[in-house]
Symmetry: C2
Subunit: 465 residues, 2 copies
């Protein structure tokens, strides 16, 4: 076994196409920090300081929050070398008197000029507010704020996959297009072919534009849970991370029409506590790992928020729904409506000094048909919401009804007969949850508006590009 | 630095919620193979052989292709213990006389029965053809064939992320919803809110159902390339892996309405050769790594195909479009239409003994507006298609037009002014490509029909679940 692996390892080396590395990314230059080495970097000038004989340029190539300082002899300066221009620099690595790695430029080529007066929206040496930056979606990855968020998002995604891989969970690509319409059809987007030739060619009697392509009305997925449950009952622990959609007319700092959801389904899950422990481990892992890999980015995004949260070394709080309502009454944020609204969620988190809170034992009529009833009180279900600072609800989950007959009585539509049939053959108890990736980023980085957590936000009246 | 990392490492250990592992997944049991250890596994019975005093059960939990053999004393047998049932087994690990790891059951509990006569479509000890299995989408992950494919897909996805992470590429979540309609609007799905209350509330003068929600017609993405180019011009090398859509009325063994596409954009990319080398390295890496991690699965999927392809140790072939046409004429598979059709693609791969072929220097009118013209012949563009066995075209890519003025002349729509403006400030030369994940799986595993490469295939008249 070892021999075969070693052999394949050699194959990988052998396969590497023998090309001279054309340049080094700055993250690698800073990691290796080999003083005296001839080095080439390519990137964008973020800052320029002109002194008598020398010019100091901070260059970034997007690979890390840190910039590489370039020391440029004045004779290499051209008019095109300005903030925002793209450059190709050859030189020697050196250390500044303060011990900072820098590149002594021997040759510098401006690849693309950047004339601020020609309409470039970001002025050098200016920190623009996120609302201003958001107006220039196509250019905003050139700002420190947004590029740091995108690097954190990249790392967070990677840590998520690492977490599940270490537990041997299967990554399942659940579909975007679905004919399921059980979970509040009102919030869904429907999908049709655009081309009228296709419509004409496929039209049959008894069909309309909504149903002609797939044979039934088709929507964009609001959750991959039911699909995950199908795979979980054949292959055990599973998860999915991908886009999800809501057609709500909501424009708050917490809502998007398209967002990423992380969903997992735990096989052989018998108790809500098992699910809670798993979710708590996941969140703490992601916070610690992301702080390890992206400390500098977190500090760019929000200097205040980037300290280690105190709850990392504490157990999350658990409250029943009824206990939470009692606290809200005492704190006078009770509401006439059922459930827990956003203001109340944040009040509860505040009450617990910012420690995340599991709200468990929810009234049955507030939750979905597939949730398992509590054994001790069948007016309640084995469901949880996890509340966190900044966003409130960040995770929702439950044990799933695993009894065929009980589920049959609660099934909202014949279209879900397939979901019922999953319980008929070799059934197992499962539980699972969904976590909003953008809201996690808000909590983790201190990002007030969800529209800054992803590269191309979509919300009502906004789908440019 | 080291100190901080060590400290955080301890934090991670500290954070692990102290819960007894309730059971071991079979992949871990087989990896560790600690003979004599008390072990618990949970999974599904795949095979049962009843002998005089003992029963031999092969149990799978989805974590690997291998089954764990369970030795069950006859007195532990119950009627519910059949193929397809889910079980919880406690026992001691042992080695069979042949050296195979097995579990001597001391306690066995059937969690969910499986009565084949009650409508379970998969008979024990029967290998069903893929077309048959495909009729039971919700149950098919319970078959060896489909579960092996899903495990390969899981590993392949992981290797893809590893490849780009090792090169410090940024993983970008490009949007599904887009108002861009440049790349053949006829093939697109359009998107509208379903709920009539939302429609009424959002309707304004001058708008219709197509435009009221986002303010402009909105489609499902056919490619994330243009979005990647925006991020690439702020942050360097980028890639995306996610769902993509085509509303074609195509039902071939190579087409889906929803499929996964891997797209990457290389910053500072000056030549097609640079792009070709990168793609060749990627593909060889993925083939080698997947064979390392999923040898047993590949053998379950197609015993014939799972040998190491001879081209792994060869350089890919490169042909210009004109050279390819000459070969097709000689082989008498020329066509009256322009371009290279599927039959011709496969004939070319056959001509090169199954080695993948880059077709380069394409006639301009066969390719997209954003491709860079060849310097030596401006009727041609710096584009490539990569042809592979079983599927034909598997990758398409090009250098992008990086000259602002030339691109302005070719821009198909004012809606793409943002795309043009990317070239205006600090521009860089880039090139990129898209690779169909499902077609890669077909080539890699020898899967004839693309509908078996993903858990929930969607094609015309088929969007169940």
């Amino acid at each position: 076994m070892l021999c075969r692996k070693a052999c394949n390892y050699n194959l990988i080396n052998y396969l590497k196409i023998a090309t001279q590395k054309p340049y080094s990314v700055i993250a690698s230059v800073l990691e290796n920090a080999t003083v005296g080495e001839d080095t080439e970097v390519k990137g964008w000038v973020k800052n320029l300081r002109v002194q008598k004989h020398l010019i100091f340029a901070d260059v970034s190539d997007g690979s890390c929050a840190q910039k590489l300082q370039i020391i440029i002899p004045k004779e290499l300066k051209t008019d095109a070398l300005t903030c925002g221009s793209s450059v190709h620099i050859r030189g020697k690595l050196s250390k500044s008197p303060r011990g900072q790695l820098e590149l002594l430029a021997e040759n510098i080529k401006v690849l693309g000029a950047c004339v601020v007066l020609d309409g470039y929206p970001f002025n050098p040496r200016t920190t623009h507010p996120p609302e201003y930056i958001r107006q220039y979606i196509h250019l905003r990855s050139r700002t420190n704020y947004v590029s740091s968020i995108l690097r954190v998002r990249n790392s967070l995604t990677r840590h998520i996959h690492d977490f599940y891989a270490s537990k041997k969970y299967l990554n399942v690509h659940t579909p975007i297009l679905t004919s399921n319409d059980c979970e509040g059809a009102g919030e869904m987007f429907k999908v049709q072919p655009e081309c009228q030739d296709t419509v004409k060619a496929m039209m049959q009697e008894g069909k309309n534009e909504d149903t002609l392509y797939f044979g039934s009305k088709t929507y964009l997925s609001v959750s991959g849970q039911l699909h995950l449950e199908a795979i979980c009952r054949g292959m055990g622990n599973v998860y999915t991370l991908g886009p999800t959609f809501r057609a709500e007319n909501a424009r708050s700092r917490l809502h998007l029409s398209e967002f990423y959801m992380l969903e997992a389904e735990l096989a052989f899950c018998y108790s809500l506590e098992q699910l809670q422990n798993h979710i708590e481990e996941l969140l703490k892992y992601l916070f610690v790992e992301t702080r390890n890999t992206n400390e500098a980015d977190l500090s760019v995004i929000d200097k205040e928020n980037c300290k280690e949260p105190s709850w990392l070394r504490q157990k999350f709080v658990t409250l029943t729904y009824d206990e939470a309502q009692d606290i809200l009454k005492k704190k006078k944020v009770a509401s006439t409506e059922k459930g827990i609204n956003k203001e109340q969620e944040l009040a509860l988190v505040d009450y617990c000094n910012g420690t995340p809170i599991f709200i468990v034992s929810w009234p049955k009529d507030l939750k979905s048909f597939y949730m398992k009833e509590c054994q001790s009180d069948n007016s309640k279900v084995e469901a949880l919401d996890l509340l966190a600072p900044i966003t409130g609800e960040i995770v929702g989950g439950s044990l799933r009804e695993d009894d065929y007959d009980r589920l049959k009585l609660k099934l909202p539509s014949e279209k879900l007969d397939w979901y019922l049939e999953l319980r008929k053959f070799g059934n197992i108890p499962t539980g699972g949850y969904g976590l909003g990736l953008e809201r996690l980023l808000q909590t983790m980085c201190g990002i007030t508006n969800i529209k800054d957590t992803l590269p191309f936000p979509r919300w009502p009246h906004n789908c440019s590009m």
